[in-house]
Symmetry: D2
Subunit: 254 residues, 4 copies
Amino acid sequence: MRSIDLNCDCGESFGAYQMGDDEAMLGIVTSANVACGFHGGDPDVMAATFHIAKDKGVAVGAHPGFPDLAGFGRRRIPFSTGEIERMVAYQIGAAQALAAYCGHKITHVKPHGALSNVAMEDRDVARAIAKATRAVDPDLAFLAVAKSALEQAGFAERLNVVSEIFADRAYTDRGLLLSRNQEGAVLHDVDTVAERVLAMVSEGALIAASGQRIPVPIHSVCVHGDTPNAVAMATAVRAKLEGAGIRLKAFVEA
Amino acid sequence: MRSIDLNCDCGESFGAYQMGDDEAMLGIVTSANVACGFHGGDPDVMAATFHIAKDKGVAVGAHPGFPDLAGFGRRRIPFSTGEIERMVAYQIGAAQALAAYCGHKITHVKPHGALSNVAMEDRDVARAIAKATRAVDPDLAFLAVAKSALEQAGFAERLNVVSEIFADRAYTDRGLLLSRNQEGAVLHDVDTVAERVLAMVSEGALIAASGQRIPVPIHSVCVHGDTPNAVAMATAVRAKLEGAGIRLKAFVEA
Amino acid sequence: MRSIDLNCDCGESFGAYQMGDDEAMLGIVTSANVACGFHGGDPDVMAATFHIAKDKGVAVGAHPGFPDLAGFGRRRIPFSTGEIERMVAYQIGAAQALAAYCGHKITHVKPHGALSNVAMEDRDVARAIAKATRAVDPDLAFLAVAKSALEQAGFAERLNVVSEIFADRAYTDRGLLLSRNQEGAVLHDVDTVAERVLAMVSEGALIAASGQRIPVPIHSVCVHGDTPNAVAMATAVRAKLEGAGIRLKAFVEA
Amino acid sequence: MRSIDLNCDCGESFGAYQMGDDEAMLGIVTSANVACGFHGGDPDVMAATFHIAKDKGVAVGAHPGFPDLAGFGRRRIPFSTGEIERMVAYQIGAAQALAAYCGHKITHVKPHGALSNVAMEDRDVARAIAKATRAVDPDLAFLAVAKSALEQAGFAERLNVVSEIFADRAYTDRGLLLSRNQEGAVLHDVDTVAERVLAMVSEGALIAASGQRIPVPIHSVCVHGDTPNAVAMATAVRAKLEGAGIRLKAFVEA
């Protein structure tokens, strides 16, 4: 029997501001990428998220982003690779300490928003993230989109690379994400998304918008936590995978 | 032959804003308390500080403060003890990660500004800082003013407590710091300060403004890094101690 | 026929973070207190709020708070009265400029959260807010809780003081708000709240929890915009007042 | 007898962090561009700056920048033109209010750092700044580098455009600033700078690095306030101009 991980972003609330339904999502996924206070999250939100994740047996990772709360880490701010190394190291360490404070443990790293988007294509930025991860703890798993520059950087730094697919994003024939400003880039129908995830996981391949298959290793499926139907979609994806006899399980033992 | 540690706050610059002369101070002290980005410092400043400290063989500690850059961590913001635990844990972790990134290692914790001032007297706040330190890493040394609530909290949490005296602050007969808004609270004359430090270290006692001696363990002497004559005073204190045959040495092996 | 104003806080979202349902609330109230970017709000949220308010004919005021986004302006940070004067002036000016940019106009000032709570009782802080308001524009109306130190400060600075009552907060026999940590301090039942508002407006008196009447001038009724049933409660209050032939109308012509 | 304005950036300190010697610079220049709290400055620093400027008879302008204290407004963050309009309007308004609080008056606008650099060449960004200025107050003078897109935008929005030259920056034959990463882009010799300023002002022309003259209107000379020899250079420029019988005078009556 095969198993697979289901991951989502969590802990992105800030002070009195709520983002997503962490409590619900942490009842569905097997790994959570927890914001570290730069694009979202704060020490109290982080600790609350780690506590819930621990209670529910969900593995946790650091989810570093650009220091841009006002832009939710989505603006492409021109930081140098050295600055990126240091902001990533800082955030991983902060997450490790708060996870320890909650009796939990950070076991992976996955970048957020613009930092992630840039790292998909820019080898130097990708390498900076991988280097910072290795410098802080070489045993951290490195969650990266299959076929991205980020994944390559993880291999180059000899990290434990975990390849993920996106549940609700369309792919090009080259296996890249269709840009969000293109028609059909984001899939909204819950059943379509769940069926497609099962097909990709079963076939071990990305399914492009054209229908073409691009074989890739798939260790994790990313579902979003901050869209209106996030909980329904994550529930459907999980149910569809379990219905096909695929076990949901974190890629790293927590 | 006795030895003693000399500590000062460092890494409190922020972006384009300079604070103190870290390069010079790190050539004099044996332990540095490095700001963690909340009241001062940022990931780049932190890393630069850790690099210099490593080059000069100076031990480094996390110097967590209130999240109040505009107030330089000096405002007594009414955080709950839970919030304090989490902000301290977060900052220690961030410092640990950036120290590792620089090939150095955080070996102690010392709170900053208003967080420190509150912890001198408030047992619950003091305990929160000690708890957070223990949760992140029970091997961290805990640098605390002799006879303060902070020192007591360190003992209660079974941390390796290191007791410090202030080079340039006057003491009351009960061994407490004279409040800054009192006449004579801060000593400015370099020679007087150096002489008094040597006397306190040699006698193993605080010397109150009245001349009274209050015996305490003294493991470290704190010199300030952000006053106009900081470098001159630290140099004089070090020279006076060395001239008396007392070796300057970090309390923890880096 | 009498008329009365209905006011609520608006524009407290920040970047990707939503707070309250401004679109709905601005369809009900006649005056909006718009956050100025310190405890909530940002230039884009402010402009969006002013645009909607203008479209709906709602008068707008500056709603300055402490610079504490993480605490949503609810922490009692010990600022000096001089600092408070300057942070209030800054925020009023920013709101005036963005209102002008949207073709609207700031016509009143009402402090937020901890700044407001302190100003209810502390004469110096209340005076600082009134002074800053007068310094920026002496024609601004000054919205203050009836019988508070803030209202007194408005009179002392010869501002156009507008007295408000809270729709859903219980009063003591002295006409003060019952502290939030006391049983029954906040009223949750929509019908009860609407009835009580009508009674207070009709009688020109606060109605204490004991039933006692405290005659006060009432120019405006404050409804909350960030509670779960905010829209339902504001709708009910408005309907009840209109049903009694009381016209809803801003205290200042926009 | 001709007269000319001398302007510099001021009020860029933040909390405990000092930047430049405002007290000295405000004794030399005739117009000050005051940071508005986004890239530097805070309400207390702004008010202190306005007080000194008023005392010394120096005209004051708003100096809006990107919301990037950590980068001192020097990072080219990809904001939309709408976002730029709103952040500029916000900052102008804040400065107006604090100037009024100090009994002074904002009479011009000049963008800072990356916002200014982008506006030199990008017509849309330049137009956004001019539009925001006009929306807040069409009587504000608009201080722009001669021959830049910013100057053009000021004309297009029918603002009172004031053209400035830089005392210590080299020009290309097209009258543009030589990029800072090119050899000789910044002039450091005080006497050379003072001589060149006098020549440009006297001839009514930019003097390119090649020696070529490019005739432009010159209403103001910009000197820097945050370089190590800022005070010496500003003093020399002023003395040289006055020695040639040119009167130093703000372009707008304060």
